[in-house]
Amino acid sequence: MPLALICKALIAILLVAFAAPWAHADGGLLPVPVLTGPVIDQTGTLSASDKAALETQLQTLEQTRGAQVVVLMVPTTAPEDIASFANRVGNTWKIGRRDVGDGVLVIVAKNDRKMRIEVAKALEGAVPDIAAARIIDGAMKPRFQQSDYAGGLRDAVTQLSARIAGEALPAPASNSGTAVHSPDTSRDGFDWTDLAIFLFFGVMVAGPVMRSIFGSRLGGLLMGGGVGLLAFVVTSSLIVAGGAGLLALLYTWIFGGTGGGSSRRRGRGGAAVGGWGAGVGGGGWSGGGSSSDSGGFSSGGGGDFGGGGASGDW
């Protein structure tokens, strides 16, 4: 039956078409794991208590020194070698405080029998390549050879902490200081200057037009509302939108005001709109801003990994 054949062929094509992107996502490279905590074990090697002890050790370091060290265990890094995989993971996670960039990534590829300490640029002075190599050779390698992964990692983290403690890094902010900056809330590449310039000229041009069409009071209100709406749509920040709208409104009212007897109305309208802007800004935005952090581990978002560190095997 040709129809059945065609149906089968179509299904096959569909399957291939939809399966192919999944199979070859990212050019076949290993996907970067989700950063869920300071210790990520994809191999199931560490026992729960070992993992908890290591996490405590790393959290203590972050609280006292501010530097973020993350331990990642994967079965293999194929098809990449461990150095480029570590660099890719580091630059995706960007561990390290936002304004300092002090992050270290310890990666163990268990089945490849390879490990790497990837150091962010800010810590290359505290942990130079030679020091990283000594930590690998002295602390990790002998223990890994005896399958004591938890012990090797513990010693490595202890030595790393000692080295980081010797570096004059800025003191960590209060407890919540580093956690507030999650990378998701960072700016999305939007150019604020462009918007500001655009709105500035837009108001100067459109303001007089609106006034002449709708009269000074309604024109100003429309102008303020329009600019505020536009600013809100683009920046999705009520404070910015309220501020921009208020500025536009005041500009339209005050600038080029030819009407003589509207000073009383002007003052009252301005105050009302100002109250609205402040009210909405205070109420809605601050709540939304702080609710995105659940208090868990998050990357500082400042680490820049330039290929520093050392690799080793066992």
Partner: protein, 203 residues
Amino acid sequence: MIQRIFALLTALLALSALTGCGYNDFQRLDEQSKAAWSEVLNQYQRRADLVPNIVATVKGEANFEQETLTRVVEARAKATSIQVTPETLNNPEAFNKFQQAQGELSGALSRLMVVSERYPTLQANQGFRDLRVTLEGTENRITVARNRYIQTVQEYNVLARSFPTNLTAIAFSYAPKPSFTVANEAQISAPPTVDFSASKPKP
């Protein structure tokens, strides 16, 4: 009044056209690629500075293969003799020459490291092991810096060649920039010959 509005409108149009045609993007990416290029040079310099130390350490090893050592020294001299400036970026010929010289140094150094495996006393030397780690780290940094340069240049070149912005590129003469290529493409794509019959030279 109408005239004033008209003038402002023109100013607004000119401004939005300027940002819309990618002029600012060209500025940003041009500077970014220059910075990325400087980082590449920086890391190559770091490697060139490392070579004398490695050579001095290896020389201490009696009867080390002289030919390998000489090749490293010569390749370094050649690589450092090439004057590189940010303008090299706009000169594909000089760029290729620079890349080739650095490639030769890479080859000579990796050959040196392979040969050094045959000398147990050298392998046991802590100073040499440290230098080896440093060289390895430097090679990694070079890879990262080159990678970043390639990405920036790609972004820049796409902007310089795709439609509305290529007019800006022509008007302000922003030519596409050269990027790194593999120097010995034919050599790499040929399968390696494996020969177990030849006897290893004794150290």
